[in-house]
Symmetry: C2
Subunit: 635 residues, 2 copies
């Protein structure tokens, strides 16, 4: 298979389920986030993001820096992710007023850039001598990376170059420092690598590519690098000792890494860049490392919901087959990063498995990260929630029963915003031969090849997907791995399925109507018996959605329910008024009633009942509540 | 019911199962531990305990302190717990050579006591000005408490007063400081309270009782006490900030505490002293708090094995019904402390439930804490062990698949030694009316009333217990709660059971033969559906023993096994050569074989099989191995 890549952001105009979410991001998330950045959101913690840039500008000009810097060392990235989300949103839902606001913020950011190209408000305001001395914790490159992504997105969406030029100067500054001057080290939090490759792709700037390759190639070559860095400086942000190279994936050179380890977001951002670089350079050894790491995640370290990171300690992967549901970390950002990684693996080779995982991550963990009204967010996405334990026990403090408001460390909300707004780029890809439909996304899509079509579907609740071809060409449609009863018809005539690596390749002509129908059945899912937490358990899914059981639908108690093996599971009609519109599942079950003792030699009494499941992404929208994905099974 | 109390240590001479363990302690554990204390054990970490006392003696006499102090701040307590174990052992298995060694150590300890009665090598050697300034971390009172327990035990066993006199002077010194001079504060680690009550009982010294009552009564009256203490001093042992009063049970006055919280060993040592004090003073309010806390533990926060402490974070209780098996802390010492607490509750009122819990803790967690050869020890006693995850994942580092050797923090091994050596005091009690058999312990027992008898049994593997009465009197025999088919016969004639709070009271005459027969069936145990980790699971038990499944008996894999509901479970004959002699259980089961995928919509294939279980206490004696107590259940 030939490589392919994401379509430009302007290629897709959304509709349907994705369209509704993109509208929510535009109407609710983006304005609210902007008010937070400007410290105008009532009740939100102080952010100071915009003011930091204004104050950094003053510092550059030698003026009094006012109230200085406030916030986390990576505070700048909030502005970057907001701008990136705005860019994508402008592309799909134009809004001149929003664009003017963004332009103004870009002016402020540009003013905060030093003459030498350096851009970071923390160091510019607080201590310019500390630049580049703390790659372990300092997040300078991380912030640059996010701003580069914003710059690419804003240019892609609006064709305005100002921020792109700012970030090209910034990239050149970094190039001078690390390549020309040969400064040691690489980013503690990978991000700039994937951003630099975006910059390279957007501009053709070779220094961007070389710099990305440099950071990827030097990583882990000296596994003691961070320890030495810590020893060489007299300051620290959080007192990290740099002695756990796994945390930032630097125990071994990247091509020799075989297990997904450490901080899950850092891991998938790094792997994304590795796959990106492999795609650009054709580095087979690097691509092979990516495949091994992909398998490490998806075959042994990923929750059913596409969540990754089994522990709050380091927000990290643990070991193979350790997937506790109630103490999961499964950070929203990590699943977003997993989608990035999957998308880059697809670029290297269109194999539907990658898209299956992306879809799983999106429809479950990523969407579950946001309240249905777009106003509150989960960072942590457990597969089981137990009020009284979750959020209470010291081991469960991070697993909250309801979504909190905006955090001081606001990584996830803007990440969700930019992911949803750019969904079209994950859904559709192309190379000079073929237009690819990786994910199902209703709306209008125009490929560079000229192929243009409308996708009509109520997916993920409707399993008929109609593609109306306006302008023909060569098309590849992914046949989702979870669908065991897939059919395709062209102008009413069945198409014999001849999938290549999970894609059906075909030529379509102007006016053709292609109808994909997918398995609308409920699937029961079992985990490998190697996963200790999941033996004897079963989960329900339909299409890409994982379902969960909440107390509110089940008499307040889901722990005492067990699903019947081979019991009937009935999907409801689409319930438009429930949870912003869902299909629920009603399953034959038993309810156990015990004698109240902690331990008893009498088995609990059982009575038949039905149990109601909702899509996982919609949980915790009706107050504090028990929730369970993996249910006991009985017969 | 009238109060009763433990018999003197000399009242019981062991035989059978307990006798074998007491012999192991004498032959293996006590000599090895002494060689550690003297830094003569090959391969063990440096202990320096005896040398610390020698050096403290030099400091007292104004001589050069040689190599000074080495070890943890509570290092002295290792000597105390060893001496206490030796005392109990001498009482049941006399050994003049060992007694001479102990006498010598007592001389060294006595030499380390300051003229004012102060005794602690850490402070005496390192900095006498720091005495009593760090009750939060300093463990001074903790070390005194253990030495007082040793003193009582040594006097009880040998009638030698030297150490008792040392510790009476020490108690008087503490009394002067905290009562006469009115110094604020109370022990960060409860222990001295229960020890002072032992001293009071052994000597009648009223200051000991008053001091114990004082420490119990002031605890938690000012929940900010430790925070203030931290603020008032310029040094620290570990940097504790004193801001979590739950950790040392000081959030509220003890009579108002309702939930078992914080460090589990501290908790049960405190509750033991509270129950002790209530027993001495008749304080109903205090006794009631003890009952509430007992229920908090045993009805909602205790593992099936009698383990307590659901998390390694603070080695602590968490919240109700949170009982993860694989990440359990369940420290050996905590279950020993739970036995102390149960024994003191029995003293207040002989109710068999207390003894049921003591037995559960003893035969499972306490015995499981020691390797069968007496040479290695678990501090942490999980109910599930998974090589590859246990001991490896950051969340499971503390849950080791095999017992480590002697730790620098050597609390558990000597605690096991003293508990086993003094088992008779937990098994038998008395008041001026009645002789009590709380736990089944083969051997000869002589009560103060003159009642004397032999107990003959192969318990816990034999469920017939014969009591041969040499000298008659009034007797109360506990009918274990787990036995649903208990019979009692006197000289061959059935006795109609008329239990009062779980005890059968009766008069026996010289020459009577009393035979107790207990339920020898296997019981299947279910947990409350409120325990999220245990829904759908079942465990096996027989008599007081909880069983577990190890990989070595089950084809290397216990995760894929599920026990059949109502399936046959067959006990083996007693296998004398297996695991120092056990009865195994063979259960009808199924084995699941999956397709190797992490998640699959196909249920794993199943085939009928048998699964073999061993007593939990015997696990991890055959190398690194999967182990599971709570098994999936199927039909």
């Amino acid at each position: 298979m030939k490589k392919q890549q994401q379509v430009p952001i302007t290629a897709y105009r959304s509709d349907g389920f994705i369209g509704k979410y993109q509208q929510l991001i535009k109407d609710t998330v983006i304005p609210y986030q902007y008010s937070v950045l400007c410290d105008e959101a009532p009740g939100a913690e102080k952010s100071h993001v915009v003011q930091n840039f204004i104050n950094a500008g003053k510092a550059i000009r030698g003026e009094d820096v006012g109230d200085g810097f406030y916030g986390m060392v990576f505070q700048d990235s909030d502005a970057a992710k907001w701008l990136e989300a705005v860019a994508y949103s402008l592309a799909v839902l134009p809004d001149p007023e929003l664009e003017a606001t963004a332009d103004k913020l870009i002016d402020i950011i540009a003013d905060a850039q030093d003459a030498d190209g350096y851009l970071n408000t923390y160091y510019t305001i607080k201590d310019q001598d500390k630049r580049w001395t703390n790659l372990l914790e300092g997040h300078e490159l991380y912030c640059c990376g996010h701003m580069m992504e914003a710059a690419c997105a804003y240019f892609d969406a609006t064709k305005k170059r100002k921020l792109l030029d700012v970030m090209l100067r910034n990239a050149e500054h970094i190039y001078q420092h690390f390549i020309v001057e040969g400064a040691p080290g690489y980013p503690g939090h990978p991000e700039v690598e994937l951003a630099l490759i975006k910059m390279y792709r957007m501009t053709g700037n070779q220094h961007c590519l070389d710099l990305a390759a440099h950071f990827i190639n030097v990583r882990g070559v000296d596994p003691l690098y961070y320890e030495k860095e810590v020893a060489s400086r007299s300051w620290s942000v959080w007192g990290s000792d740099g002695k756990n190279p796994d945390y930032q994936q630097s125990r071994r050179p990247v091509r020799e890494q075989t297990d997904a380890v450490g901080h899950a977001v850092r891991a998938v951002y790094l792997y994304t860049a590795m796959a990106d670089l492999a795609s650009v350079t054709g580095d087979e050894k690097l691509l092979n490392a990516c495949k091994v790491l992909w398998d490490s995640i998806t075959c042994r370290r990923m929750y059913l919901t596409g969540g990754i990171g089994s522990t709050v300690q380091g927000e990290a992967f643990t070991v193979d087959y350790d997937l506790p549901g109630d103490t999961a970390y499964a950070e929203t950002c990590a699943s977003i990063g997993l989608m990035f990684f999957g998308s880059r693996m697809l670029e290297n080779r269109p194999v539907s498995d990658y898209a299956d995982v992306m879809e799983k991550a999106f429809y479950n963990t990523v969407l579950g990260g946001m309240q249905l009204d777009g106003k509150r967010f989960f960072y942590v996405n457990p597969l089981e929630c137990l009020p009284g334990i979750s959020g209470e026990a010291v081991t469960h403090r991070h697993d909250l029963p309801t979504r909190p408001g905006w955090y001081a460390c606001a990584c996830c909300p803007p990440n969700v915003a930019r992911l949803i707004s750019s969904y079209g780029q994950f859904a559709y890809g192309e190379n000079d031969e073929t237009a690819y439909c990786h994910l199902i996304a209703a709306g209008e899509i125009t490929f560079r090849s000229g192929l243009k079509m409308r996708c009509e579907t109520g997916y993920p609740y409707d399993f008929t997907v109609t593609y109306r071809i306006e302008k023909g060409g060569r098309l590849a449609i992914r046949l989702p791995g979870w669908s065991t009863a897939t059919t395709l018809s062209l102008n009413g005539n069945a198409v014999a399925l001849t999938p290549e690596e999970g894609y059906q390749y075909m030529d379509v002509k102007d006016g053709d109507v292609l109808v994909l129908t997918l398995d609308d059945g409920v699937h029961t899912v079992y985990a490998s018996t190697k996963v200790p937490q999941l033996t004897g358990k079963v989960a329900l899914g339909r299409g890409p959605l994982v379902y969960c059981f909440e107390g509110v639908d089940n008499g307040g108690d889901v722990l005492s329910l067990a699903l019947k093996r081979d019991g009937r599971v009935t999907p409801s009609a689409f319930e438009a008024d429930l949870l912003s519109g869902v299909v629920t599942l009603t399953a034959e079950a038993i309810r156990r009633t015990d004698d109240g003792d902690l331990y008893s030699t009498t088995p609990p009494a059982e009575e038949s009942c039905t149990a109601v499941a909702i899509p996982y992404y919609a949980w915790a929208n009706r107050g504090e509540n028990q929730m369970r994905v993996w249910m006991d099974e009985t017969r």
